[in-house]
Symmetry: D3
Subunit: 313 residues, 6 copies
């Protein structure tokens, strides 16, 4: 079945959709209305519900699945769904939230098995044991969480997918620059964003937890490494160095790392993180652009707009 | 007995002094010489030792106590000691390193008892127990360490002295702004720089440890709070909030805090830290200046020079 | 009687309120409406007046007192007043503007007497005479003006209240750092913002005067000090130093001071100003927040949001 | 007679020269020496005086005129004077300081008469009277002072020469953009740097006064305009506007103006100041450069080096 | 006939106007409306067209000329046109687009003849030939294009007018600073923005071309100079120097010049460009302001608002 | 034979060495001396030549090969060569400059053949032809030049080696992110620094040419691409896009690119350039460091010092 974003302007729609957010507004005639963001795996679209009752406000809330009939419009260059009919779904409809969420292009099993393989390849036992211990402790959440609330890899299993892409890239780079320490690099990559499983609320309607706001994922995971080392009775310099690689991965103090990279693997980890995030953003943004046109501005890429040449094939 | 900086230009000197640093140079005639920084409690002074032998280089090293006879000169506006005679000391001289180091104006006992009193006044048992636990764990080093390697409170017991001054200031401010939580503020102040006992090498010839370089005192103490809470079985929100107050005390990301203050006590702690450091620097700098003159530039105060008015009494 | 912000959502309201501002809008049906900000001492609330006539636009202007019946609503998380009935008041209603304005928590007499006391304590006659002269010249306005048009102490007598709080804080700090010159510090505090009585238009609906825009309160008061010294026949270095303390109180060139502080009292005055403004903003902002929640972003505090812990008592 | 900089490398020299500065150094053999900067109108040159006595240090001080015999050397690409003989001069030598100072290319009379002419052309009586009053009050110093201690117009009568050049440029620009108010522009130019006659110590060995350091020439002259207006009984908006034009002439807050230009003549005055300073620096710097070469780096021009093309004629 | 902006508020209007832009909106009653910007040579005004059909959306597009009857309103301090009747024009109406566009105050012939004269005055044959060649190649577009899409000289022939104003200013400056090379300065001015005839789409509804976006007018014209030199067989240093003068004319790397000015004529060209743009913006902005009032904020002038004094005559 | 840097401190040396630079100084006894930097393939070392004659200054100039006997010293932690005997070499010594220069770890043939292979793999004929044309035109210099005058790849064939490393890295990345256009990426990499063969003077004692200073390697090669396209009669969008990829490769305007990357291959090229430069700097810097120690500060890496862990194997 065609997803909501796979319909043309003017086409009739009759679909199940998930309400991503619902915001109440007051029209100039004094009557309330709802601005809905509706989504399925193909993406999301805005729709307005005019002259609503208080009951409707209670019913059409975020994370509710609805059945909608209507028509796709073009409003100021953006798609909008003009609703003709809308109703909440019940158990009989046989739909569930997971069917409407965007997920990573590789599944949890593949992510899990690749991580296991990279841990297996490590030669330094201290690094290997800490990594395995923490990965095991948070595996379930690691495989489900997004890598961020917005900007890049902001979908189910985004965190695991991001880490696996970074590991593959790290492997390729380490082959070209053999003086890099692969154990440290792989472990740093696996752990660098693991604090997000505590910083963020979960894979759907993701927000920041109080701990996430006050400490941040970097401090959270650095504490976890310290505790893991204590539990495992590990005391070598690997602990401090691994903590450093993780805590410096934002690259600059003003980006939230309390120290700049001072280990070569920390430096390259920061760059690899950067590359994978940028490639993900560019890929997703340029998919929506025709040859000969410019993309929308991408805020974390210095708010730049990117051009898609006409001669690419 | 008069300290080295209490002599006038032209006056004859015969004193025991501690070599703070010794740097070898090569004169244009091809012969080596030593630039010595010699100190006692009154401060430090530069001296040159010309045409030295390899033996002398071995003898006159940092942390050696020497007996020096010579004369105080004015060289380009700075004092210099012209050495006539110099010899290393032996056990018979009855001198020891501690006699030559600048120390805080209040002694360890007073620092210790004031800290105890502030902890005693805390009403929140979770905050009180964590604070007492960590203070006990590192008390000896806390009472001896400087607050920094340079700039402010860079003397024996400087850390404890700085903390006590900040506590007194915090008490005065909390009386004027009673909505501040004193427990959180006092605890934050006591712990904020405690990581320095691991970040720095010790009270004499202070340098940074590897852990200090790679993690920094903020991350070190935040880890310690986490471990203390675990050991003491404390789980309330106090732990995260106290970690936040400590980790944000540099005030800005670019100054090394991974989060800006997001609790009012964190904000005021940062300011109190700032005030006490600035007052210490200004007091020490202006002591060396005559009315109607400008001080040397003070680097951490935006490299400004301060004027001492003629009408102060 | 309960103030407007002391009503619950859903509660019926029948109150006198002052129109703080009235902005005309055009609804999408082509008819004009008014957005009113209505206030009393408890704070202010937004209300809409739909389908208005030109007469109504003329009647319901800023600084008019109205009698309003209606109901308090929650609109997108902010309170809104749904107007059922509204009429302008007349002399018979026995209400006046001052009853609706927020004022400082201490009254003019107390402010005036505290200032007098601090001036009385000064020992340097030159500083004392200049301060007394200028305070006397502008006393009436000083006791009525706000400290700013927004952000902090933006209420009747806000300027005087801010100065008194700063003086008390200065006294506490000078006790802990006795090398500070109290006369200079007290005088600097009393005069630092006095130029605002010329820079700003007055205590209600405060705007900038042309002189305020083109010269600013710093230049204005520095000129006044020069003139006062001339009138009083004072020529000592105190005049230049006092001018410096006042002109550098914004702390940095990019914040509008033509010189950075180069006197220790100028440095601490800048910090005290900062503390009192921040405490005022944090106190007012966190009053509206429940434990366990974050405040709205506070623009002059780097646009940060502050957390109110759950364990404060 | 040839000036010191008009001699070739290797040429013998026998000249009167003014000691611009004398700095004592300590050679590696422990003996003192003097580094002299010697100048006449052609510019200045460095010279060393080895193995000096205390008497010599007292004799060869700044602002002393000496008779020197020696030879011009090339030392690391810079000229140096190798002294063979040196003696202080006496009254019999018939030389005086003014003969050795660089002065503006036009004389005081011409500066004075051009200023008078520009004031004469003003039509607004308020502006004209304030300008004439202040120019009269400080005329002597205005005609003698440099425009700065270094960088541009740092020579006798530099201030007056700079102002006259700016006036001529302003006149040319006002002809092309006739909506500019010439009175305001001319007056602003004449007064903009007049505070320097109080900020700086004088035309020779120029340093900053205490008042200059603590207030700066901008605040000084703005006060003077206020006092002039009071004395002359002038109260129109011209006073505030003229003060604004002068106080904003550095263009940006971080460059020391407490307000940015908010009057069109203030904006163009800032640019004209900039042009004349830059042209002066470029002219002097490129005079010392051969075609096909780059100048030394010019610090206030963003530390850039400028190229002199080979094809200029 | 009076232009649209020459009507008073409340006055009846019956005019031909050009649609500058037309943007579709959705009213809260769910019906579409158009926001039109209508212009003639006097300027532009906003108007709303409510409850429109799809046909109307197709008809009332940008670059269409319409006949409008209505009334001028004041809406939140800005003028708005309340439309009573509107129709598209046909050939019978005898109007054409050029009648509605703002144009430079001097005509194409005058621009062309002044440019010719300045080229004629050049003495260096290499510079003269390159300049003449490129001016000839792009003359038609040069005489029609605006100097920018917004901010300054954004009208028909704005480019040529800007260049001529700069040339006259350059001539005046070169008379005061005779060490400037006029040929290089004139040529640099004539060519500096010529790349805009390729960077921009044309004189009406101006946008950026793909080449303009990806290369920018600086790189475009620098390439053109290289090609011109090759075609004309010119090889002297003039080519590189002229390219440098043009490529550095934005003054700083962050403003899009790949090199900062390193030739004195490049430095002054940058300043002249700046002056003419600023004077143009200030002139246009202050024309709309009454004495005693502040202009709207001017974004490229650091978002400043400018004051129009009351005493200008 | 052991290179100069492969000798221990205290070891006797008798070697041919190349004078990299020779700087004349003046000792405090008034006699001239030379500071020589002597190099062979193992690196360079400083040496002093005291009390030299003018003849010696003429003989011991940069790019001269000398025979030196002496001893390696440790001077302030840096190696220094104490010269016992030194003489210039003649033809009989059978040595030549190339023997003393550091060169890339792969030879010219390998570089050349790898470039050829990458060009061969291109599928887009326009991109392929332009790349081949320009590579052919400048091949000789491309294979000899360094990639920079300092910081990274500053050795013979450094440019070619840097390009080949970048190509291999690009290939690995393009395999992981297949939406990248390999032709554009390879061509951009091959051409991005090719302008350096005109910007720089050559492989030995490298300096900037006038064209390099005034235009820079980016503008130079962008012009070359334009000319190549013209010569080859190529007109597709590839020309503009390829110019863009090359001109934006510094990534930011303030780093000398007149446009930021607006094509995804431009973005990744900038990152690849960055990675290879950083890896080169880190590799060379950490080679000189023992485990457990910090490197010297590396200026282009934000002046950071890097730690070499003790557990790397």
């Amino acid at each position: 079945m065609k997803g909501i974003l796979e319909h043309e302007v003017g086409e009739q729609v009759d679909l199940f959709l998930l309400i991503k957010s619902a915001t109440k507004g007051m029209a100039s005639n004094g009557k309330p209305f709802l601005t809905l963001i509706l989504q399925d795996k193909s993406g999301d679209i805005e729709a307005k519900l005019w002259d609503i009752s208080n009951d409707q406000v209670r019913i059409f809330q975020a994370e509710t699945i609805v059945r909608v009939a209507g028509e796709v419009h073009n409003y100021r260059g953006r798609l909008q769904l003009k609703i003709r009919q809308i109703r909440p779904t019940s158990a009989h409809d046989g739909v569930n939230v997971a069917d409407f969420l965007e997920t990573a292009p590789i599944d949890k099993e593949e992510i899990s098995s690749k991580i296991t393989q990279y841990i297996f390849e490590m030669k330094n036992p201290n690094i290997q044991r800490i990594t395995r211990h923490l990965m095991k402790k948070y595996l379930d959440r690691f495989l489900e969480y997004p890598a961020a609330t917005k900007n890049h890899h902001e979908f189910v299993s985004g965190l695991g997918f991001h880490v696996v892409s970074m590991l593959d890239l790290a492997k390729a780079i380490a082959e070209l620059y053999p003086f890099l320490d692969r154990d440290l690099l792989y472990s740093g990559i696996i752990l660098h964003d693991l604090g997000k499983v505590i910083e963020l609320s979960g894979p759907v309607s993701t927000t920041y937890t109080v701990e996430g706001n006050l400490l941040g994922h970097i401090t959270i995971i650095v504490n976890e490494i310290a505790k893991a080392a204590e539990e495992l009775g590990i005391q070598g310099e690997e602990v401090v160095v691994l903590q450093h690689v993780v805590l410096s991965h934002h690259g600059k103090l003003e980006w939230g790392s309390p120290k700049q990279p001072m280990i070569k693997e920390a430096e390259i980890l920061h760059i690899i993180d950067n590359i994978d995030a940028k490639m993900n953003m560019l890929d997703r943004s340029l998919k929506r652009v025709k040859p000969g046109e410019f993309s929308e501005r991408i805020f974390p890429l210095d708010n730049r707009s990117f051009y898609k040449p006409t001669f690419h094939s």
